[in-house]
Symmetry: C2
C-alpha cells in the first residue's frame, strides 16, 4: 500500500523525456497540468539536450537529479525504457509510470519487452504503472494528467484502462458537478492492475464511489476484491470488449482477452457491483450518486413548460419504474394561487406557463410547493426550448438559473434538471450557464428525461438492496 500512496501523493516527480518545446505532447499532458493544479513537490524534467524546460532546470538523467524522486513519468520510446529501471532502483523511485506505447498491446515483441521491464522493476522494488497510460491524477496533491477534471477535490474515484474514457468522464463530469479524488488510467496493467487499485480505493475512506472501466482482468482476485469493495461503497463497472469486435479491439488496445456480455453482467451483479453499458450511463450514475440529494422514494413531481413535454416526461419516468402520482387537492390549490390554470395542468406533471417559468420567484415557488407536498420524493424540471427565447434577454435564462440555485440550496427534496443541447448557436452558452447554476445549487443535470429516470431507477434499486 505504501507504493500506491506514492502513486497519488508523490513527494517529487521526474519527467523522463520532457521536451524543450512548450507545446509538446509530454508537456501538455504532464508538465503543464502539474503546474496548473499546483503540485507542491519538486518537478524534475529529464532531457540531456537542454538545461531548462518551461522555467524549470532540466537534468541529463534521472541519476543527475539532486534530490530524492519517488514518481517517474517515462515518455521515451519503449526501446529505451529498460536502462531506466536500473536508474529508478538506484534512486529509490517507488512508481515508474510508463506513458510510452509499444509494449504488449503492439504484439509479441512488445509483450516480451513489457515482461522483462516489469520483472526487472519488481526485483528492484519499483512498481510499474502502465505501460501505455496517462497515469494518476489527484486534485488534492496537485497530481494531474486530466487537465479538465476540475481542481476541487471530492470522492469520485476512477480506475480506467482507457485514457479517452477517463478524460471524457472527468471533463464532462466535472461540468455536471462531479468532484474527483483518485483518478487513474492504468493502460496495459503489466504490474499495478485494476484489482490492486480497486482494493486500495475500497479500503480508504476518501473514495466514496468507484467507477471502473476495464477491458480485461489481470488478477485472479478481481471478483473477490470487487465483492469486498462493493459491500462498502458503490462500484460501477463498464466492461469494454463484450462483443466479438469489441474484444478484438480490446486485444490490440490493451492486450486484453474478454468474456461475453451476458456472463460479465451476471458476474458483476453477483459481486454487488453496478454493471453499466456506456460512458454516458456511467457519468449519469456518478452524478446521481454524488450530486443528487438522496431521495426518500420514487415518486416524481414534474414541472415543465410545454404540455407535450409534460406528457412525454410522465411516460418516460413511469416507463423507467418511477412513479408520477396525481397531486393532492391541497397542493393543486397552492399552485392555483399563482398559476392561471387555463390550458394548464396542475395535477402532475405540472404544465407551467411562460409567465411562471420566466420569473425566478414564481419558478422557484412551483418547486417549493412540490417540496412541501408529502406525496412527492423527487422534483424534476426541464429547461425549455427554443433557444431563441433565452437569447431574447438574459432575464429568461437568469430566471431559470436563479430558481435552480435557490431550489438546490433551500429545498429539502432532491431537484433534477433536464436540459437538451440543441445544436443552435447560443445553445452551448445556455448549457454552460445552466451547468454552472446546477453546480452552485448542487443540482444534477441530465441531457434527457430518459437518462435522468434510468439513472434514478438504478440508483434507487441499488439503495433498496443496500442495508
Amino acid at each position: 500500500m505504501n507504493h500506491l500512496a506514492s502513486l497519488f501523493s508523490p513527494s517529487s516527480i521526474a519527467i523522463v523525456g520532457a521536451s524543450s518545446e512548450p507545446a509538446s505532447g509530454t508537456n501538455s499532458i504532464f508538465l503543464t497540468p502539474l503546474r496548473q493544479y499546483g503540485f507542491r513537490g519538486p518537478i524534475y524534467p529529464i532531457n540531456p539536450k537542454v538545461s531548462e524546460i518551461m522555467g524549470l532546470p532540466a537534468y541529463p538523467s534521472l541519476s543527475a537529479v539532486p534530490g530524492p524522486v519517488d514518481y517517474v513519468i517515462c515518455a521515451v520510446a519503449a526501446g529505451l525504457t529498460l536502462p531506466l529501471v536500473e536508474e529508478c532502483q538506484k534512486k529509490g523511485v517507488k512508481i515508474l509510470h510508463i506513458f510510452s506505447a509499444g509494449f504488449s498491446e503492439s504484439g509479441p515483441e512488445g509483450a516480451r519487452l513489457e515482461a522483462e521491464l516489469v520483472s526487472r522493476a519488481r526485483r528492484g522494488g519499483v512498481r510499474v504503472l502502465g505501460p501505455n497510460c496517462f497515469g494518476a491524477s489527484y486534485p488534492r496533491s496537485g497530481l494531474c494528467s486530466m487537465p479538465d477534471m476540475g481542481k476541487e477535490p471530492g470522492g469520485v474515484a476512477i480506475i480506467s484502462q482507457s485514457a479517452a474514457t477517463a478524460r471524457d468522464l472527468t471533463e464532462s463530469g466535472s461540468r455536471r458537478g462531479l468532484k474527483f479524488g483518485k483518478v487513474v488510467h492504468y493502460g496495459n496493467a503489466a504490474d499495478i492492475n485494476e484489482t490492486e487499485l480497486l482494493e486500495f480505493m475500497g479500503e480508504e475512506e476518501e473514495s466514496k464511489i468507484v467507477a471502473v472501466y476495464l477491458e480485461g482482468v489481470k488478477d485472479r482476485r478481481f471478483l473477490s476484491v470487487l465483492r469486498r469493495v462493493a459491500a462498502r461503497k458503490p462500484v460501477l463497472v463498464l466492461k469494454g470488449g463484450r462483443s466479438e469486435a469489441g474484444s478484438r479491439a480490446a486485444l490490440s488496445h490493451t492486450g486484453s482477452l474478454a468474456g461475453s456480455a451476458q456472463v460479465w453482467r451476471a458476474v458483476l451483479r453477483q459481486a454487488g457491483a453496478i454493471p453499466v453499458e456506456t460512458v454516458d450511463e456511467m457519468e449519469d450514475l456518478l452524478v446521481t450518486f454524488t450530486v443528487l440529494r438522496p431521495p426518500q422514494g420514487r415518486r416524481v413531481g414534474i414541472v415543465i413548460f410545454g404540455g407535450g413535454f409534460c406528457v412525454q416526461a410522465a411516460d418516460e419516468c413511469q416507463n423507467e419504474g418511477l412513479q408520477v402520482p396525481a397531486l393532492p387537492p391541497e397542493t393543486q390549490a397552492q399552485f392555483r394561487e399563482f398559476i392561471s390554470a387555463v390550458g394548464t395542468s396542475l395535477k402532475n406533471p405540472l404544465d407551467v406557463p411562460p409567465a411562471v417559468v420566466w420569473r425566478e420567484d414564481r419558478n422557484f415557488r412551483t418547486l417549493a410547493v412540490l417540496d412541501s407536498c408529502p406525496e412527492i420524493d423527487i422534483i424534476l424540471t426541464r429547461a425549455f426550448i427554443p433557444v431563441s427565447t433565452y437569447l431574447e434577454g438574459p432575464h429568461v435564462l437568469e430566471a431559470q438559473a436563479g430558481a435552480i440555485i435557490r431550489a438546490g440550496k433551500e429545498l429539502k427534496k432532491p431537484v433534477v434538471l433536464v436540459s437538451r443541447y440543441m445544436g443552435s448557436p447560443g445553445s452551448g452558452e445556455i448549457m454552460v450557464r445552466l451547468l454552472e447554476a446546477c453546480r452552485e445549487g448542487g443540482v444534477p443535470l441530465y441531457p434527457s428525461v430518459v437518462r435522468a429516470a434510468r439513472s434514478l431507477r438504478t440508483y434507487l434499486e441499488f439503495m433498496e438492496k443496500t442495508p
Copy 2:
C-alpha cells in the same frame, strides 16, 4: 383537400389579436416569422385600437380587410372566438387557426365552447385548426410559426399535437441537416385532425417521411389511413400518454384519452409504421432516413482516436445488431502506408493516432480507405475529446470539419459522425462548427454511438421489410 392546400399555402393571412407591441407573443410567434421566412401574400394584422403594427396597416376587424383572406390566425381570448366564425364565413376564409387556449383541454365548459365553435364553422364552410395550437409552417410558402426550422425546404413532414415537440424537432433537427416541408401543430384537433393531416401528407409526393406526435386519436379511420400511408413512405409515430401519468397529462394537455404502451406499439407496427419512444429517437430516425446516404448493408467500419472509444464503439454497434468485421489484409496494408501501427489497431475499429486525425488529408484518407474496402457498408467516425485540444488551435477542428465535408461529398458509402456535447466552455462552438460541416457534407451527426447504431438498426430493419 382544397382546404388543406390553403392550410400550407394560403394566399393571404389575417392575424386577429395582433398586438401593437413588437415583442408581444403574437408577433414573435406569428408576424415576425412570417416576415423572416418571406411569406409573399398580404398579411393583415387585426386590432381595433391601432392603425399600424410593425409597419403593416392594421384593421379594426376581419370584415374591414380590403382584400380576400383565406387563412385566419386567431389569438384572442377563447370567449371572443364565436363571433369571429361568422366573420370568417362572410369573408370566405378557408382556415381558421385558433391559437387561443381555454377549450376542451381546460374542462367541460371549454369543451362545450369548442364543440359550438366547430359546429358553426363547419356550417359556414370554414375549417378549424386547433384550438390551442401554433398551426402550420411551410418554408416553401414562407408560412412559419417555428422560426428555428430553417428556410431551405425539404421533404420532412411533422404532424404534432405538441408545440414544444414540434419546436424541439425543428430547431435541433434543422441543425442536424433536416429540411422541412409541411409542419403542423394541430392542438386539440377539434376539426382538422391527425388522420386528415396524415392522409394529406401521405398522398402528395412532396412529403418523403412523416413524423407524427399524437396524444389521442380523433378519427376512427386513423389506423386504416396510417396503413395506407405507411405503405407509401416511412411514418414515425410517437404516442404520448402511454403510461397512466402520461395519459392523465395528455387529458389536460389536449383532452386525449389513451391506450396502453404495449397495445400502441403492436398496433403501430402492424400498420407498418415505426413506433418511437422519445423525441430524441424520432429526431435520430429523421436524420438517418433523410441525411444518411442509404447503406448497402450493416457492416460498419469504425475510425476513432482513442483505443477505449474504439472498443466501446465496437461493443455498442454489435450490441445493436450491426456488424463490425475485421478488415482484410489488403485494407490494413493500405492503412499501414500512412499510419504507424505502434499501439494502434488497424483491424476495425481503426484506432487512429493524433498525427492522422489532426490533418485533414490523412483524416480523409482513413475514411477513403474504408470507402474502397468491399467488406464495409457504413463508415463511422467520432470527434475526439478533450475539448481543449480543439481550442489549442483552429487547425484541429478544421482538420476534422474539412475531412467530414470531403468524405460526405466524395465518398460513395455513407459516413456517420458521432460527437458528444461536453458541457465545457467552447464545446458548443465546436459542435456548431461540426454540425455545419455535416450539413455541408450531407453527413448525419449523432450525440453517441449508441444512438447512431440504434437508429441505423431501426432504419435497416425497416428497409429490409420494405419491397
